[in-house]
Symmetry: none
Subunit: 250 residues, 2 copies
Amino acid sequence: MVGKVDSTLSKGLSILEALAAEPKGIGVSELARNLELTKSNTFRLLQTLIAVGYVTQDANKQYFASMKTWKIGQMIMEKLDLPGLSISQMQYLSSMTGEAVYLAVLDGLSTLYIEKIESTKAVRTYTPKGGNAPIHCVATGKALLAFHYDTLREKLIDNLTLYTDKTITSIEVLDKEVDTIKAQGVAIDRGEYRAEVLSIAAPVFSANNDVIAAIGVSAPAINVSEDDIENMSRTVILAAQSLSNTLKDI
Amino acid sequence: MVGKVDSTLSKGLSILEALAAEPKGIGVSELARNLELTKSNTFRLLQTLIAVGYVTQDANKQYFASMKTWKIGQMIMEKLDLPGLSISQMQYLSSMTGEAVYLAVLDGLSTLYIEKIESTKAVRTYTPKGGNAPIHCVATGKALLAFHYDTLREKLIDNLTLYTDKTITSIEVLDKEVDTIKAQGVAIDRGEYRAEVLSIAAPVFSANNDVIAAIGVSAPAINVSEDDIENMSRTVILAAQSLSNTLKDI
DNA sequence: AACATTCGTGTCAATATACGAAACAAAAGT
DNA sequence: ACTTTTGTTTCGTATATTGACACGAATGTT
């Protein structure tokens, strides 16, 4: 009996999301139009969001997302403290490769970067902390995808967006790719999202052997030879295993 | 006509908050008891939170807050554009003191420097933008810590790393220090992280009075007399208050 | 200045919606 | 074997949420 959702709650959250995305404040009417909701409905939901502290309103009647969401988000992060637990392995990867190092978790059909260490080299591949990328064409994404494939495959079929000529857009090809990722324990993206970027990532296992994160490196493709790829893969796998082990005994 | 709130939405958000505070996952029954809600009600709200991506459930039926809230929070943070809003106050501090000026936010058990102005003087105390420092022994860190002490104290107990002979390594001493920081509205570090560096910082408050950042200066200790410290403290506090005020009316 | 649109906020009746109680199987404790 | 507690589902009902409409105040247009 899945599928039934409380519309009030989901509408309220979509308002919160809309406000978070809004660079400048926004009024009821425009907000209602954007979300295809009634003005009355939007107004009322905004009132309750204000009452519980997630939204504020300025003198010109504009509505804003408050910092409360940020605070809650921080709490979640702190409790899990994946970044804290990962930092030593990430630093290890950074020192070994000199490239940008990422820690990512699953977020719908995207990988969400929750921690990063900048490349120490001149040419940088910039992706901000808190940013995300499609799951089917970057290394961290593919590593996460491979181990959640049963729940994600179906949803992904119609969402294999093409980004470069290397991007996997056929589900059959992806099926095979997932098999090799699971077999090898590492995912490699050779310019499947950004043509000139190569990334390598491995899955991180929780205490109950769920894959909860992926750790990996990202580098300008021209910097990396095939031999380098093999070496870096081994290093990334080791770091991921190491991290998985520290998660076992928490 | 104020005060009427959509109960569905507010209950849903309280569930989200409860999950965020829960270090380990939690089941429906216990959650319902904690929040004084019906089991049916709690269950349903959880289903819709799952449907919209804010909550996940593991194999043992335990519910968790997902990273989505964190992501929304990050979005809010980014659109706030703290660096942009801070620049004038930072320049003011720079011109008044001639020393290095920092804008920092909380990042785990560290202060993360998100903006800086270099010292105009010959002798510089170098800390790069994007860099971080332990929270318990630099001024920006202590300013942030003091106003997040309830959530951070426990974690910090085993992480009071010693850097110099001035570093605070006892939680009892830190408790007192936090009290005086909150009382004075300013944090001072006299060589607690780098022996020869002195730093002064004050908290920056958001529209709803959360401390979301700290602004401060950092200087070679030999440059600074006790009188200077007092003067600079006042200047830093003023700059921080000024910044807080501009945040009020956005 | 007069007019026409927008805006944010209230009102209110209708009904769709979220609600609690009870029941369920499965698991955990005893 | 028995009892309690778990997560989940069903269901009839009441109530809380809803959308249409109204309103004055801004804002824009002529």
